[in-house]
């Protein structure tokens, strides 16, 4: 059975279509150069340099010069000695256990088995505590132990050996026992035993290597630069909290909308506004208003509560602001999922006597579980990739994204920034893979059916009233935070002088070249938007409707950009294009121009556009395009005369989304922008950092006006010129 001919014919058919071939080749080139290459160069640069070959740049970038090599030397000696002793002890114990005369004292074997799990766990826990809590007692103890002479070294070796010995015992014991059980033939027993012992020895070697790595990291963490360890622990802490909070609030909102009867116009409006927020959420806005509401000069803290020294900066500031920014995304996700749950399932549970709460915990929640994981991870990725909010409201609380930026712009430590970018990328990639390939399929598997009929809404006042109040308070709070910014631009001095003034706007345009910033941002985004929209529609078309070899690559790469934090992409572009591609000077001309900014805009908005394009195209019966193809249209003609008109709405909204995303982009851009371009977002960042909130608010107000204006315009255009209108009218 050979499928060669069919594949060959498919290839010939594809090659007979020059438009398709050119498009695919161009696409692959674009994706490879502007998404894959910058990430690849980051990885390569971390472990290899042209002058010195394989390097420890990655580690020294993280921990500082020399720390790594010293730590490695120490760890080699300690780790090797400890592992050897542990293996020898373990082997001896295993031997004693497996001798003919009953073996070790009863209970000792069991105790050893227990310790083989418990001790390494305790050790790893101590290790994690020491790394992340550098001033704590564990770290201090370890620091003292590590810094001593031969004596303390020997002590560490002993402790390590004690931790590892039970583990080694268990492996060797297992090998011996198994070979005794399988066969009674003495020679066969011997060969089997040798084989298993060899396997156990190899495992011991792996344990040794892991041990080594742990020691190196610990040592480097104790003596090297702390900034990285702090940044990573900060980032993860914020990410977890924001992920959990956003998922919880999002679920609450979705549940109230889908399950609870709150049919007042006011609530419906609130929900609609909240659902629109994630589309147009310019960076900094929430952070700015958070400071203006709750900061030292905050209206709420200072004037309502008379607290004069409230510190909004830091962990809680970031967490609250990010939660407010990202929970609408979760809300939208959950709303889709909840609407797909067939009400009859819950009615069946209710019918069998379950209370409403029990129905939620035994039916609804389990069905949603993969979706909750999905929402958590999506928010987690967004949170740790977020640059703007930690920048403004983080204060001295640095996350990975801001540390990377500061390494580049402040410390000029490109190696360090590069190494941290690799770590950040690693974290988001793992999360992304789990989310995309595991959770998404699970979510789809449990919730595919369409609800068969309308749900009986909860009308019980004891349920609806508190939920309604809770949701409206939160929604109002979020809306208040958005409204706060324009007012910030209109008051003379926020927190002290509430006279209305236009001086900030005047200053923006007179003193700070506001018009140029406006123009630069607008023009670059206006160029990027149609390119992105068209590109994502072409990618979706190829992915959904065509079959060819490189399809997987195109789909994966364009989605990959979703998992790449902007800061990482920015560093990748610096490393990748500052000296031209592979430092050969090729494409060097791009660096520092507006073109590279446009490309960054395109790459950053591509995943969202492609995703909505794909889902729009999946709605269209494949045979509609096939019939055009069959009637004699080439692929270009099919795309322009059938596909594009049918997904015109999706194309339009993709256009506006790309525009809005571009004009509000900051994380990658701030690393790549040159003084010849003034961008609104960069200006906001600059003035907010300086503490000139009036100017920052004025810029932000302009940005908000542009983004909401564009979205409104889009809705109008779709309403009056969209495809759906023509078809709807016919109904």
């Amino acid at each position: 059975m050979a499928r060669g001919q069919g594949a060959a014919l498919d290839r010939r058919k594809l090659l007979a279509d020059p438009v398709m071939v050119t498009t695919i080749v161009l696409l692959i080139t674009f994706l490879a150069i502007f998404i894959l290459y910058p990430l690849a160069i980051l990885l390569v640069d971390s472990f290899y340099s042209a002058e010195t070959g394989v390097t420890s740049q990655f580690f020294s970038g993280i921990f500082g010069e020399n720390v790594f090599s010293r730590a490695l030397g120490k760890a080699l000696i300690i780790g090797l000695l400890a592992t050897l002793i542990a293996a020898a002890a373990g082997f001896a114990l295993a031997r004693a256990e497996n001798t003919a005369d009953g073996g070790l004292a009863p209970g000792l074997g069991k105790a050893l088995s227990f310790l083989s799990v418990a001790l390494p766990l305790i050790a790893v826990a101590a290790y994690v505590i020491a790394v992340f809590d550098s001033s704590g007692p564990v770290a201090r103890f370890l620091q003292r132990a590590f810094s001593g002479g031969i004596g303390s070294g020997a002590l560490i070796v002993l402790v390590e050996a004690i931790v590892l010995a039970p583990l080694c015992y268990r492996m060797f014991d297992g090998a011996m026992r198994y070979s005794n059980l399988t066969t009674t033939n003495a020679t066969e027993q011997q060969t089997l035993r040798n084989k298993l012992l060899l396997k156990a020895a190899v495992t011991a070697l792996v344990v040794f290597a892991l041990n080594l790595l742990l020691i190196v990291f610990l040592d480097a963490a104790l003596y090297g630069k702390r900034s990285f360890i702090i940044a990573i622990s900060n980032t993860l802490k914020v990410g977890f909290l924001v992920g959990i909070l956003s998922a919880a609030i999002g679920l609450l909102f979705a549940y109230v909308e889908v399950y609870v009867k709150v049919r007042t116009k006011f609530m419906a409006g609130l929900f609609k506004v909240v659902s629109m927020l994630p589309v147009v959420s310019p960076p900094f806005v929430l952070s700015l208003s958070m400071i203006m509401l709750f900061g030292k000069a905050g209206i709420i803290t200072r004037f309502l509560l008379h607290i004069y020294d409230n510190n909004v900066y830091g962990f809680w500031g970031i967490a609250i602001v990010q939660t407010m920014t990202f929970f609408p995304v979760c809300y939208m996700m959950f709303r889709g999922l909840l609407k797909n749950i067939d009400p009859s399932m819950e009615e069946a549970a209710r019918d069998m006597g379950a209370s409403r709460f029990r129905v939620f915990t035994s039916v609804t929640l389990p069905l949603l579980l993969p979706g909750i994981g999905n929402a958590f991870l999506v928010t987690f990725i967004e949170s740790i990739a977020d640059f703007a909010n930690p920048m403004i409201i983080g204060g001295s609380y640095d996350t990975l994204a801001t540390t990377i930026y500061l390494q580049i712009t402040g410390a000029y430590d490109k190696n360090g920034a590069c190494a941290m970018a690799v770590v950040l990328l690693g974290i988001t990639m793992v999360m992304f893979m789990v989310q995309k390939y595991y959770l998404e399929s699970k979510t789809a598997a449990t919730l595919t059916g369409k609800a068969s009929r309308a749900r009986m809404l909860i009308e019980d006042r004891s349920v609806t009233t508190p939920l309604t109040i809770l949701c409206s308070m939160m929604a109002l709070f979020v809306i208040l935070m958005y409204i706060c910014v324009p007012f910030g631009a209109l008051f003379k001095t926020w927190g002290y002088d509430f006279h209305l003034t236009t001086k900030w706007f005047v200053q923006v345009f007179k003193k700070y070249k506001g018009l140029k910033a406006f123009k630069d941002s607008f023009v670059l985004s206006l160029i990027a938007a149609p390119v992105t929209a068209l590109l994502s529609m072409i990618i979706s078309y190829l992915v959904v409707k065509k079959k060819f070899k490189a399809k997987g690559f195109i789909e994966f790469t364009s989605m990959l950009a979703m998992a790449v934090p902007g800061t990482v992409l920015g560093i990748g572009y610096i490393r990748g294009f500052a000296g031209g591609m592979f430092r050969t000077g090729f494409l060097q001309g791009l660096y520092g121009t507006g073109a590279i900014l446009v490309i960054v805009f395109v790459v950053r908005s591509l995943p969202t556009g492609t995703r909505s394009g794909i889902s729009a195209l999946r709605q269209i019966d494949k045979s509609i395009e096939e019939s055009a193809y069959d009637m004699g249209a080439g692929s270009l003609k099919v795309f322009t005369s059938v596909t594009l008109p049918l997904i015109k709405d999706s194309f339009l909204s993709g256009l506006v989304t790309a525009f809005v995303r571009s004009i509000t982009a900051i994380s990658a851009i701030i690393l790549l922008v040159t003084p010849s371009f003034l961008l609104i977002t960069v200006q906001i960042n600059e003035f907010a950092e300086k503490g000139s909130f009036g100017i920052a608010c004025a810029f932000a107000t302009i940005l908000i006006a542009i983004t909401y204006g564009s979205v409104l315009l889009m809705n109008l255009i779709i309403k009056y010129f969209g495809t759906s209108r023509k078809i709807k009218e016919a109904d």
Binding site: R3, G6, E626, K637, I727
Partner: protein, 362 residues
């Protein structure tokens, strides 16, 4: 109507066509279509018939060019079209879902193919008008497609395929979305138009009555291979296997050893009775034999060929439906026009008989 005949209907030849797919569950390759070899003469109406998963649609899609055969060659009008893309092939397809362009009105839908062929404007006007008249949709030119009923959409799809005067017209289960009555009406319509235009048509369906009423030739497929080819009559009365016999209408199978064999005739011993059957097969006495006989060819009476016991007797209007037991075998009988005949009740003993030319030896 004579001036509307297609200039040159083309013939289609499939030479040992196979298509291999990967089973998504097991990951193993299997033949979706295996060694299909057939010739379709210009101007004929051929139906690919079979249960779902038999490879009929895959075969049609290979002719259209959407799939590429893994083995074998496809010829259209004598030329190999294996490597041609669908848009370069002289075929036009009517899809199961009609696949009308929702953003175009009826006229634009039908004119789509002509515009691609750069036909002058006034000629497009004329030809679209003509073809819409043929499918009885005159005056509907400006309607959007979702303002049409299912049957009308079907006609637009047909008109859109016909107007480009393809060498071969392909139908992929075009009537399966229509209700039963409309289906019967439309298939007569399709046959009428095909004969009026003299066009070659290849039609895919799983509905055997549709296949029989519409086709010059039926190709019955099963598991990717051709089970039987022939005219509807041949397939109905001379099925070559139990599968074919059973798929085309209801059928009874009576098994027993062959008890007599001569030229053109044989006898099969069933429950001790030698039952004569016409056959052109050469069979030997003692071989296992199997008689195929249609329910409407069997008569039930107080005396006859084979004794039986009535297990079901049901009045169906135009006929009386019986299930009777002959030995161990269940035999279904449709006794037409039962009003002036004796009606047997459940549990009655009776006799069945049938003419030897109505039966067929497998």
């Amino acid at each position: 109507m004579a001036d509307m005949r297609v200039k040159e209907p083309k013939g289609v030849e499939l030479r040992h066509i196979s298509k291999i797919y990967k089973d998504p569950k097991t990951g193993k390759d299997f033949y979706a279509v295996h060694d299909v070899d057939l010739t379709i003469v210009p101007g004929s109406f051929v139906t690919l018939l079979g249960p779902s998963g038999c490879g009929k649609t895959t075969t049609l899609r290979m002719i259209a060019g959407f799939e590429s055969p893994d083995e074998g060659d496809i010829f259209l009008g004598g030329e190999s079209i294996n490597a041609l893309t669908p848009n370069k092939r002289d075929t036009a397809m009517v899809f199961q879902s009609y696949a009308l362009f929702p953003h175009y009105n009826v006229f634009d839908n039908v004119a789509y193919g002509l515009r691609l062929r750069k036909v002058p404007k006034d000629e497009i006007q004329r030809r679209v008008k003509e073809i819409l008249a043929l499918v009885e949709l005159s005056g509907m030119e400006q309607r959007m497609t979702n303002q049409l009923s299912g049957g009308q959409q079907q006609r637009v799809a047909l008109a859109r395929a016909l107007v480009v005067e393809p060498g071969v017209l392909l139908f992929d289960e075009p009537l399966s979305n229509l209700d039963a009555k409309l289906r019967v009406q439309m298939r007569t319509e399709i046959r009428r138009i095909q004969q009026a235009l003299g066009i070659t048509a290849i039609y895919v369906t799983h509905d055997q009555s549709e296949a029989m009423s519409i086709s010059d030739n039926i190709i019955l497929m099963k598991g990717g291979v051709i089970a039987q080819m022939g005219t509807p009559t041949e397939i109905y009365y001379h099925p070559n296997s139990e599968f074919v016999a059973d798929f085309i209408g209801e059928c009874n199978f009576l098994k027993g050893p062959i008890s007599a064999a001569s030229v053109g005739e044989a006898a099969v011993n069933i429950v001790g009775v030698d039952v004569p059957v016409a056959t052109d097969k050469s069979v030997k006495v003692g071989d296992p034999g199997e008689i195929v006989v249609r329910p409407e060819a069997i008569a039930i009476a107080d005396e006859g060929m084979l004794p039986c016991k009535v297990e079901l007797s049901c009045f169906m209007g135009s006929y009386q439906n019986y299930h009777v037991r002959v030995g161990d075998t269940l035999v279904k009988i449709t006794d037409n026009c039962p009003i002036n005949k004796k009606i047997f009740a459940v549990g009655d003993d009776a006799y069945i008989s049938f003419d030897k030319v109505c039966a067929h030896l497998l």
